[in-house]
């Protein structure tokens, strides 16, 4: 069989000495480039299939880049406070539920919840993060699953809901930055992660609760 590798990190591609590879400077998570753009995706595939004509190993750089400027944040409204007696993160989670349900109906549960928690224990997970930030040791806070996996489910809930609240398709990482920087739950998660790190929790336990550069 002939293989063609797609890769967005040139050094990683080169280190595996592949027979044929197309290095595309696209954001991580988008190896074909632009979602909902079949013409763009076909051009990438055409360039990849051209490598089959090579008579010896070849690594080619695709001639179009999609840079991430690191400053694009999703323009996405957040629900106004509804129940002032609730923690803001819990209030926010409840307010986003209709958008999440619509997005699941429209796209399916492609990136949403289901790794460690589901909608039934989402608020339990948020409550555990609140306890951690309030001083409860993380092992006693009642996180309903492996912390990084629970965090991915919470992030998936928000990034899925955002698909229905944003007027435009999110640029790469824009939804992630919106969640961690702009939402009550994202800020809570980062605070709980920092608290766990400061308390001496093993690095893999807290580190993978958010992207590694955050």
């Amino acid at each position: 069989m002939a293989t063609i590798v797609f890769g967005s990190i040139k050094e990683q591609v080169e280190s595996t000495a592949p027979p044929r590879a197309l290095c595309c400077d696209f954001p991580l998570g988008r190896p074909l480039g632009e979602p909902q753009n079949p013409e763009f995706q076909h051009r990438v595939l055409e360039s990849a299939f051209q490598l089959l004509q090579a008579e010896e190993p070849i690594i080619k750089e695709y001639d179009v880049s999609i840079p991430d400027t690191a400053d694009e944040v999703l323009a996405c409204p957040l629900p106004p406070r509804h129940d002032p007696d609730l923690h803001p993160a819990l209030d926010e989670v409840r307010g986003l539920r209709p958008a999440y349900d619509r997005a699941i109906k429209k796209y399916g549960n492609r990136i949403g919840m289901g790794r460690a928690i589901d909608l039934e224990n989402l608020e339990e997970a948020i409550a555990a993060l609140i306890k951690i930030t309030e001083g409860t040791p993380w092992k006693e806070a009642g996180i309903p699953g492996f912390p990084s996996r629970v965090s991915q489910d919470i992030r998936g809930y928000y990034e899925t809901a955002a698909l229905e609240l944003s007027e435009n398709a999110p640029k790469a990482w824009a939804g992630t930055r919106w969640f961690f920087n702009n939402t009550e739950t994202g800020k809570l998660l980062m605070s709980a992660r920092q608290t766990m790190a400061d308390s001496g929790a093993n690095q893999p336990i807290w580190f993978y609760m958010a992207p590694g550069d955050s």
Binding site: M1, A2, T3, I4, V5, F6, S8, I9, E11, Q12, S15, T16, A17, P19, P27, L28, G29, R30, P31, L32, G33, E34, P35, Q36, P38, Q41, H42, L45, A48, F49, L52, E55, E56, D68, A70, Y107, G108, N109, R110, I111, G114, F146, S148, R149, Q152, G156, E159, T160, L163, A169, P170, A172, W173, T176, R177, F180, Y208, P211, G212, D213
Partner: protein, 148 residues
């Protein structure tokens, strides 16, 4: 939180040293059966979940589009896949190429691994060759390898 920072973090992670590059000249593309192997930890909802150190693979059916992305790494943007599965797993694009006779046909089954692995020796020894044999038994000629 920037794509360039994540790429810089991972660029120097050592890969596997191969003594030689395996190189195959396939049949003509318009006669080739094409499959996708992704390291995005995709699977169907009723498949077994990938565990953290799971070196195995899941089979993805061309006829089903209910793929879910369950990678263990937080270090990539998942919303492209949420909007359009072809951003990671270009199954519709391949079918369009088959309909235009650019490729021979799309394999009925594809493979998915969880790319968040550090112990690569088990994949080299076991699940990698097993997956390759699975595809060869289907008559696959060309494989596209897509990451996240």
């Amino acid at each position: 939180m920037a794509d360039s920072d994540i790429k810089a973090m991972t660029a120097q992670i050592p890969g596997v040293d191969f003594e030689e590059t395996s190189f195959t000249n396939p049949v003509s593309l318009n006669e080739a059966t094409v499959a996708i192997v992704t390291s995005a930890a995709l699977h169907h909802p009723d498949d077994e979940e990938f565990t953290m150190l799971d070196i195995g693979y899941r089979v993805l059916e061309s006829s089903r589009h209910d793929y879910v992305l369950r990678h263990w790494s937080p270090n990539f943007d998942p919303t492209g896949f949420a909007l359009d599965i072809n951003t990671v797993f270009p199954i519709d694009r391949l079918q369009e190429l088959a309909d235009r006779n650019v490729i021979g046909k799309v394999a009925e089954q594809h493979l998915s691994y969880a790319g968040n692995q550090f112990d690569l020796s088990s994949i080299q020894l076991d699940s990698g060759p097993s997956g390759a044999q699975f595809l060869k038994d289907q008559g696959v000629d060309v494989v596209l390898l897509t990451p996240v």
